[in-house]
C-alpha cells in the first residue's frame, strides 16, 4: 500500500456510514435531553435534598467526573450483568452517556444556582409564587441561561466521547469506520472522513444550541442590556 489516498473505495459503504451517523445522532439527541433533565434534578437535590441524599449524589458526581467514560461504559455493560441486571449494548450506551453528561452538567448548574441571591427566592415567595414556582422562575431558568455556554460545550464533549461506544459493538459512526476499514483496508481514508463528520457534527451542534438558546433566553438577554 503506497502513501496515496483513495476515497472512492469508500463509495460501496455509504449505507453503513449512514447507519453509523444515524445511531450517533440519535444517541446524542436523546442523551442530551435525558442528561440535562437528570442534571437539573441532581443539582436541585444537591442543594435542597436530605443530607444523606446530598452526600450520595455528591459521590455519584465525583466518581463520574474522576473516572474515564470507557470504564463507566464497561462497568455498566459488562459489570452489571454480574449482579443479574442484563442490558443490551445500545441501552448501556444510553445509560452511560446520560449519567456522564448529568454529572458534569449538575456541577456546572450548581455553580449557576449558587450565584442566585437568597433574597431573590424570598422575593418570589412574597409575590405569591409557590416554592417550586419561585425556584423555577427565579433560580433555575436564570441559572440555566447563565451557564448555557458551558452546558453546550459539555454536551459536545459527550457527543465526541460517544465514539467509545463502538467498543461494546454499538453500530455508531466509529463502529462503521472500523467495519469499513476491516473490509477495504483503507483505514486512513475512512478515519479521516469519519473525523471530518464528527467535526461537522460538533460545529452543527454548537450552532443549533446557540439558535435554541437565543429563543429560550431572549428575555434574559434583554434584561442584561
Amino acid at each position: 500500500m503506497g502513501p496515496t489516498l483513495d476515497f472512492l473505495t469508500l463509495l460501496p459503504y455509504v449505507s453503513e456510514l449512514l447507519q453509523g451517523l444515524t445511531t450517533t445522532v440519535i444517541l446524542t439527541v436523546v442523551t442530551t435531553f435525558t442528561g440535562l433533565a437528570l442534571a437539573v434534578a441532581v443539582a436541585y437535590l444537591r442543594v435542597n435534598g436530605q443530607p444523606w441524599l446530598r452526600w450520595g449524589l455528591g459521590g455519584y458526581v465525583e466518581v463520574t467526573r474522576n473516572t474515564p467514560f470507557i470504564v463507566q461504559l464497561f462497568f455498566i455493560f459488562f459489570g452489571l450483568p454480574g449482579l443479574g441486571i442484563k442490558i443490551d449494548a445500545i441501552t448501556a450506551a444510553f445509560i452511560a452517556m446520560t449519567l456522564n453528561l448529568a454529572a458534569y452538567s449538575a456541577e456546572i448548574l450548581r455553580a449557576g444556582i449558587s450565584a442566585t441571591a437568597q433574597g431573590q427566592l424570598e422575593a418570589g415567595r412574597a409575590l405569591g409564587m409557590t416554592t417550586l414556582q419561585s425556584y423555577r422562575h427565579v433560580v433555575l431558568v436564570p441559572a440555566f441561561a447563565r451557564v448555557y455556554p458551558s452546558l453546550i460545550s459539555q454536551a459536545i464533549i459527550v457527543m465526541l466521547g460517544s465514539a467509545v461506544v463502538s467498543q461494546i459493538s454499538v453500530f455508531d459512526l466509529t463502529y462503521a469506520a472500523n467495519f469499513i476499514q476491516s473490509r477495504n483496508f483503507r483505514s486512513f481514508e475512512v478515519y479521516l472522513l469519519i473525523t471530518l463528520v464528527y467535526l461537522l457534527l460538533a460545529f452543527g451542534m454548537r450552532r443549533a444550541f446557540m439558535l435554541v438558546g437565543k429563543r429560550l433566553f431572549a428575555y434574559q438577554q434583554g434584561e442584561q442590556r
Binding site: N66, T67, P68
Partner: protein, 218 residues
C-alpha cells in the same frame, strides 16, 4: 487454567497503573511544551500564525480523541511508517493536551488587564520585559488551577490507548476480565484506581481555585 485470586487481580491492575501514570506524564509534559509554543504563536502579532493556531485548537477540540489516536496509529502505518501503540498514544495524547492547554493559557494571558500592557510600555519596558515582569507572573498564578484541573482529563484520556492495544489500566482490566469472568469486581477496581489517581488532583485544583478567589483575583 490458572486461578486468579482477588489479590492476583489487584496486583496485576496496580502493575498496569504504572503505564497509565507514565503515559499521563509523557502526555502532560509533551503537551505542556508544545502548548507553550502554541500559546505564544496564538498571541503573536502575525495574523497568519494566530489563525493557524486557532485552527489547530479547534480541530483537536472538535474531534474525538479516539479518532485522533486512530488517525495517527493507522495513518502512520498507511504512509509506510508503522509505529507502536505506545508511540502512537504518546503522540496523540501530546497533541490533544497541547491544544487544550494552549486554549487555557491564552485565556489566562488575556485575562491580565490590557491597561497593564500600556502602563508597562509607558514606563519604558519593551515587549519581553513587560511579559517577564508584569504579565507572566500574574498569568501564571491564574493558570495553575485550570492546568491542574486539566491533568485529570489527560489521565482519563490515556484510557483510550487501550483500544489500540496499549496495555495500561483499562486494557489490563479487559484482559483480566477475559481470563476470570469477574467483570463487576474488575471494572469496579479499575474505576477505583482511576479515581484514586484523579480525585486528589481534582480536589487540589478546586483548593487552588478557591485560594485565587479568596485573594480577589477571580
Amino acid at each position: 487454567m490458572i486461578e486468579f485470586t482477588f489479590w492476583d487481580i489487584l496486583r496485576n491492575l496496580l502493575l498496569a497503573t504504572r503505564w497509565t501514570i507514565v503515559l499521563s506524564l509523557i502526555a502532560f509534559i509533551g503537551g505542556a511544551t508544545v502548548g507553550l509554543v502554541l500559546t505564544f504563536m496564538r498571541l503573536s502579532s502575525s495574523r497568519w500564525l494566530q489563525r493557524l493556531t486557532a485552527l489547530y485548537v479547534d480541530l483537536f477540540q472538535g474531534t474525538p480523541l479516539l479518532m485522533q489516536l486512530f488517525l495517527i496509529f493507522f495513518g502512520a502505518a498507511a504512509m509506510g511508517y508503522p509505529i507502536s501503540a505506545w508511540l502512537a498514544a504518546s503522540i496523540a495524547l501530546t497533541l490533544f493536551t497541547s491544544a487544550f492547554l494552549c486554549d487555557i493559557w491564552r485565556g489566562c494571558l488575556e485575562a491580565v488587564a490590557k491597561g497593564q500592557w500600556h502602563a508597562a510600555r509607558v514606563l519604558g519596558m519593551n515587549y519581553f520585559q513587560t511579559m517577564r515582569h508584569v504579565i507572566l507572573p500574574q498569568a501564571l498564578r491564574l493558570s495553575i488551577p485550570p492546568t491542574v484541573g486539566f491533568s485529570v482529563q489527560v489521565i482519563k484520556g490515556t484510557a483510550l490507548a487501550s483500544i489500540i492495544g496499549f496495555v495500561e489500566l483499562t486494557k489490563a482490566g479487559t484482559m483480566l476480565n477475559n481470563a476470570t469472568f469477574e467483570p463487576f469486581t474488575i471494572f469496579a477496581l479499575v474505576a477505583l484506581l482511576y479515581f484514586a489517581l484523579c480525585y486528589p488532583l481534582s480536589c487540589y485544583a478546586r483548593y487552588l481555585e478557591k485560594k485565587l478567589y479568596d485573594a480577589g483575583l477571580r
